[in-house]
């Protein structure tokens, strides 16, 4: 409608904003960031060890061309068939960045940290502190902040060379294990947050190589092929850190106990004695409510754990869901078991002065004035912090079977 503006005028009015809009992507990133995907060297996982005079970086570099091809067809001769699709590279340097750039010189492709899922820190380096490692990882613009950090029981580099055949990318194997939620996962951004606060404690999943022997040959026919199970890097408890330094270890059982206090216990199986025989339950749901109390200058913490579970396996004996008191008894003994595990984990971390449960953060949020007075002494206070643990466990379902199959006559 209205008078038609001159064509020249129209464009002059619009050209300015158009150029301005096009300037945005020019500044945000441009052709110079362009790297074809086949020119990228994807680092699937990295391991860092301390060596005299610096660091040794060992990585699993993905070799896309040796990944199996879907459907068998296509170009390039398909997959190599079996075997891992990674190359293991190693380089040293005074800093991690230097080691990384030396490694870059070894390969044709440009190393790319955007798909790195795991970063494994060697034990010796962990004792010295993981600050530099996290700094390198978080400062790097390419990396995603969700890289999982793990600590090796021993040197980290050998873990890179272990390739169980379950997945094409060996590191993916460990990652899938981590995802099953029975480990105290620590991502790069979480580590960065925790490191900013002096003396803060946290857990990091620990990794060790399990080397199961060859499977027992079947006794009936000796001619069967003996299957050798491959060596496998497996999660093995957790490392306890204070202020970014490794101060001790928790074994698998204690790690699970520590997870209970953080409300991360669901999904696991707990076996407890029931009338002298073992009985396993599956934890379906675990809810944790944590409250901090301050009486004068005496802090204390109360942890309420509520657990719903399902019976997984009953060995012998009477189990009659028609008798609720039996289920209640079962629940009570389960609660005792959980509480015992949590207390054991608490005792272990107390000895190390590592508040891995972030009770300190609770005080910082609820009692900021108190926290400002005491936060420098918190590790000492934590060693003697009274923690009250209440567990309520309810057996929700007996599983698909109701009664025990082998009822005593």
């Amino acid at each position: 409608m209205g008078g038609e503006p001159e064509p020249g005028k129209r464009w002059r009015g619009r050209l300015g904003p158009l150029l301005l809009a096009l300037a945005v992507p020019f500044l945000a990133g441009g052709c110079w960031d362009r790297v074809e995907i086949i020119d990228r060297g994807f680092i699937a996982a990295a391991a860092v060890d301390a060596v005299p005079g610096g660091y040794r970086l060992t990585v699993q570099l993905v070799l896309p061309q040796s990944l199996p091809s879907p459907g068998g067809g296509g170009a390039g001769g398909g997959g190599a068939g079996g075997g891992p699709s990674v190359a293991v590279l190693s380089a040293t340097g005074a800093t991690l960045a230097e080691a990384a750039s030396r490694m870059d010189e070894q390969v044709a492709s440009r190393l790319f940290w955007g798909q790195t899922r795991l970063l494994i820190v060697g034990q010796a380096l962990a004792r010295r502190g993981i600050g530099e490692v996290v700094d390198f990882l978080v400062r790097n613009r390419e990396s995603r902040l969700r890289t999982d950090l793990l600590v090796a029981r021993g040197e980290a580099a050998p873990l890179m060379a272990v390739a169980p055949p379950y997945r094409d990318i060996p590191a993916d194997n460990i990652y899938q294990e981590l995802r099953k939620n029975l480990a105290p996962r620590l991502r790069a951004f979480e580590a960065a947050i925790r490191l900013r606060e002096a003396g803060r404690g946290f857990l990091m999943p620990a990794l060790a190589v399990t080397r199961p022997g060859p499977s027992p040959a079947s006794p009936s026919t000796g001619a069967e092929r003996r299957v050798t199970l491959p060596a496998n890097p497996a999660l093995d408890g957790a490392g306890v850190f204070v202020g970014g330094k490794l101060v001790g270890w928790l074994d698998g059982r204690l790690t699970r106990g520590a997870l209970w206090l953080e409300g991360l216990g669901s999904g696991g199986t707990i076996t407890l004695p029931y009338r002298g025989r073992p009985l396993s339950v599956l934890v379906e749901r675990a809810q944790v409510r944590r409250r901090v109390l301050l009486a004068g200058e005496r802090p204390s913490v109360r942890v309420d754990i509520e657990v719903d579970d399902t019976i997984q396996e009953v060995h012998e004996g009477e189990l009659d869901p028609g008798r609720p008191e039996l289920l209640r008894q079962l629940g009570e003994s389960l609660a005792r078991e959980i509480r015992g595990r949590a207390l054991a984990a608490l005792a272990a971390t107390r000895r190390m002065g590592a508040d891995v449960y972030d009770f300190g953060r609770l005080f910082a949020g609820r009692q900021p004035a108190y926290w400002r007075r005491v936060y420098t002494r918190w590790p000492q206070i934590f060693r003697s912090l009274p923690v009250e643990i209440r567990v309520r466990a309810v057996v929700r379902s007996p599983g698909r079977l109701v009664e025990s199959l082998q009822l005593p006559r």
């Binding site: 409608m1 129209r10 158009l18 809009a21 096009l22 945005v24 992507p25 020019f26 945000a28 990133g29 441009g30 052709c31 960031d33 362009r34 790297v35 074809e36 995907i37 086949i38 990228r40 994807f42 699937a44 993905v62 896309p64 061309q65 990944l67 091809s69 879907p70 067809g73 296509g74 170009a75 390039g76 699709s85 790319f112 955007g114 798909q115 899922r117 390419e142 990396s143 995603r144 094409d168 990318i169 993916d172």
Partner: protein
């Protein structure tokens, strides 16, 4: 020897040729002069004089058009008249039985449905060209244009471009009168106005502007009239000519008027207070004003369950977006941001590209252009050959190119999914806009990655926000937001939902869906069998 003997003859032939060319030129000049003179000139009222003028205008001596026919008739009580028609445009039966019959019974004015008095020379010639029979008479009026049109035209058939599962199966044809009747049969409202326009400087074309008086906002009608009248094109062969000259933004890539071949769509639009334009010779109607959402709606939406119609509308919005950005995003992510992909996917995409010798951008453009080529070739091929084209296309693109490692499988998937999404858009015009913008976004993605795509999308969105169709905001009722207009935009609410829909043309829209229409079982009745 022979050539020498014939040389004078040849010279003579050449001279004659030149002479006849000159004569031709002179005749053309004379004719155009005559045309200029005849413009706005009145018929004299002397049939012989007028007939000679018209005959001259139709070619005159030596060039008279072959289908020109002229008879002298005796008009009882008025003397001698002349009857002129073009035999190619007139049904001889009607001419014989009705017109000659009426003339002999002196009932000329009342003989047929159409007996239009004509005064101007140019109008007389135009009507003659349209297939009327001119009756030149002494006195006033000097001529009558009688309807005896009879020529072959396509029968009303199924919609070919906008098919639907349910609903009307009639589509417009090239004949204007038929098209108007198709619409009127569906509107059935005495307030339907069919306003005639004659546009086109060189080839005058009948154009009809349709609207419902009292329903359509008058300023809209006035504006459309103004736009139609200001059109001065040599010829108008299709509604597209009108759309391009009556658009709000002449530079936009988006359609600002809806093209439809369905009379029911036109009727629905008229009932919503919109305008429609029909052009003689065009099997499409132009509907305006329209909004962006009109192009994502199909006639079937109103004829099928509102559940599936609403689902399909949301799906189409997603598909439009997909067709717009999918290849661009693929390029951007592959080349600039592989960290955005789930890990294993990134590695496998890298695997498929190991043997590809081109950068991803070149690969994408190759595939897109190959697809566009196939499509363009397909539209120009006779249907018999199109199967062989698709076989060759599928073999060349789908098999040979990929297995030779020139293009990766994921790229083929991306391009095909995009193409299918594009085909799923109900409006051809919107689909082509999306198709073109896709290439612009691909260039942006290749240069700047995801930020480039986002800026491109922001520019498109900004343009859409500023765009208007006959003054109505293009993104209405979403921007500006009029919540009650949404019932027929993103979703299709049931027909019984009360309220005024759509509110696009508020406050002039006066038809409401009355309350209390939601069906329900009869109260208290548990069963049809009454208890005994």
């Amino acid at each position: 020897m022979a050539s020498e003997r014939f040389a004078p003859l040849r010279r003579e032939v050449t001279r004659l040729h030149q002479l006849s060319d000159l004569a031709n030129e002179a005749a053309s000049l004379e004719l155009s002069l005559l045309w200029e003179l005849s413009r706005h000139r009145r018929l004299s009222g002397h049939p012989d004089l007028d007939a000679r003028l018209i005959r001259t205008l139709m070619g005159g001596r030596g060039h008279l058009t072959a289908d020109y026919a002229e008879r002298t008739v005796r008009l009882p009580g008025r003397g001698r008249g002349r009857l002129i028609w073009l035999s190619s445009m007139v049904e001889t039966k009607i001419l014989d039985s009705q017109i000659f019959g009426a003339i002999s019974r002196a009932h000329v004015e009342g003989h047929a449905a159409e007996a239009k008095p004509v005064k101007a020379v140019d109008e007389a010639v135009r009507l003659l060209g349209e297939g009327r029979v001119l009756l030149l008479m002494p006195g006033q009026p000097p001529a009558l244009a009688l309807a005896a049109r009879g020529y072959e035209h396509r029968q009303v058939g199924d919609p070919q471009k906008e098919t639907s599962m349910r609903g009307s199966r009639e589509a417009f044809v090239e004949d204007l009168a038929t098209n108007v009747s198709l619409v009127r049969r569906r509107v059935l409202d005495p307030r339907l106005r069919v306003e005639p326009f004659v546009l086109g400087e060189f080839r005058a074309t009948e154009v009809r502007l349709l609207w419902i008086q009292g329903l359509t906002h008058d300023p809209l009608v006035n504006e459309m009239r103004r736009r139609l009248r200001s059109i001065r094109l040599p010829q108008i062969l299709d509604v597209r000519y009108i759309e391009e000259l009556a658009a709000d933004d002449p530079y936009t890539i988006f359609p600002t008027a809806l093209f439809t071949e369905r009379p029911d769509t036109v009727a629905a639009a008229l009932n919503e207070g919109r305008l429609a334009v029909l052009v003689e010779g065009s099997p499409d109607a132009l509907v305006l004003p329209v909004t962006f959402w009109s192009f994502l709606q199909a006639a079937d939406d109103y004829y099928s369950s509102y559940w599936i119609a609403s689902f399909l509308r949301l799906l189409r919005i997603g598909l439009a977006l997909l067709a717009l950005v999918f290849p661009a995003l693929y390029i951007a992510v592959i080349v600039f941001h592989p960290e955005m992909l789930p890990g294993i996917l990134a590695f496998y995409l890298a695997r498929t590209r190991v043997s590809v010798p081109f950068p991803a951008v070149v690969e994408a453009f190759l595939m897109e252009l190959a697809f566009e080529t196939l499509r363009e070739a397909g539209t120009h091929l006779p249907p018999k050959l199109s199967t062989s084209l698709s076989v060759v296309g599928a073999l060349v693109i789908g098999q040979a190119v990929v297995s030779s490692g020139l293009v990766s499988w994921p790229m083929v998937v991306v391009v095909s999914v995009t193409a299918i999404a594009n085909f799923a858009l109900p409006s051809w015009e919107m689909a082509t806009s999306v198709r073109l913008l896709r290439f612009a976004l691909m260039v942006l993605a290749a240069l700047f990655g995801v930020p480039g795509v986002l800026v491109g999308l922001a520019l498109i969105l900004g343009h859409l926000c500023g765009l208007r169709s006959l003054g109505i905001p293009y993104l209405a009722p979403l921007a500006p937001l009029t919540p009650h207009g949404l019932g027929d935009t993103l979703l299709r609410l049931p027909h019984w939902v009360p309220g005024r829909r759509p509110r696009l043309l508020e406050p002039y829209w006066k038809v409401e869906v009355p309350r209390g229409q939601r069906p329900h079982p009869p109260a208290g009745a548990g069963t049809f069998h009454s208890p005994r």
